[in-house]
Symmetry: C2
């Protein structure tokens, strides 16, 4: 930051020097006002661009890449709507009974869904199923 200010100061000094020089030439050699103005405009535009870049150069923001569900994967694996709901709750750490309560279905129904999920995800444990589902971008 200190360097930036120093550079800016030096650049300003150089510019003012240039301006004075041009001003001197203007009266001595009768350069046209348009030309003089043009030079100034170009110089200060360049200066502005430089400052603008300085201001935003290092703003590489760390952004969590938004999760995008791979819909195609879900379809490819033939995972149904209900099965997916169960998968989500499973990933949230709920037990089959809790899932059953949350979805207003019986424990047996949830078991059926989980069994089907394990087949489709080629898993044999819920932890594994969740881990695979995350790797496949099915869930965040």
């Amino acid at each position: 930051m200190k360097k930036t200010i120093l550079f800016y100061g030096l650049a300003m000094a150089a510019l003012i020097f240039l301006l004075k020089y041009l001003e001197y030439r203007l009266f001595v050699h009768d350069l046209s006002t348009e030309f003089y103005v043009g030079i100034i405009a170009v110089m200060f535009t360049a200066l502005g661009i430089w400052v603008g870049l300085k201001l935003t150069r290092k703003k590489i923001v760390m952004v969590n890449p938004a999760f995008v569900q791979d819909e195609q994967q879900v379809q490819r694996l033939g995972i149904s709507r209900r099965e997916f709901e169960v998968l989500e709750l499973m990933a949230a750490g709920l037990s089959n009974q809790e899932i059953a309560d949350k979805l207003f279905v019986s424990l047996n129904t949830v078991k059926t869904h989980t069994s089907n999920l394990f087949l489709k995800l080629e898993a044999s444990r819920r932890t594994q199923a969740v881990q695979k589902a995350k790797k496949m971008k099915l869930i965040p």
Copy 2:
């Protein structure tokens, strides 16, 4: 992009108009050259800054934030070295028996570790423990 160019063009037109106006004032009211130059300099610096910002505005790079383990959390929860190993393997979807084989200890030992983990993570199931551990930045 087209909009940017259009805006730039319009801004330029407005500036030239302003310049001509100022030029007119210069000769009519005898404004000092320094003042005139100053106005131009400020305007074009502003223009340059604006252009510079435009050029770099959208460089928000999507970077996967590297995982940094929250060592303090691990200590705060009083999770021991061995328990942490078990936690990692658990998160990888391994069963207690598989963890036992991998660490060359008995199944009962793994059960002890998992039980302690559940207490420390305030979980009652391995899926829940894994989910919480991830949220707490204990594991990736």
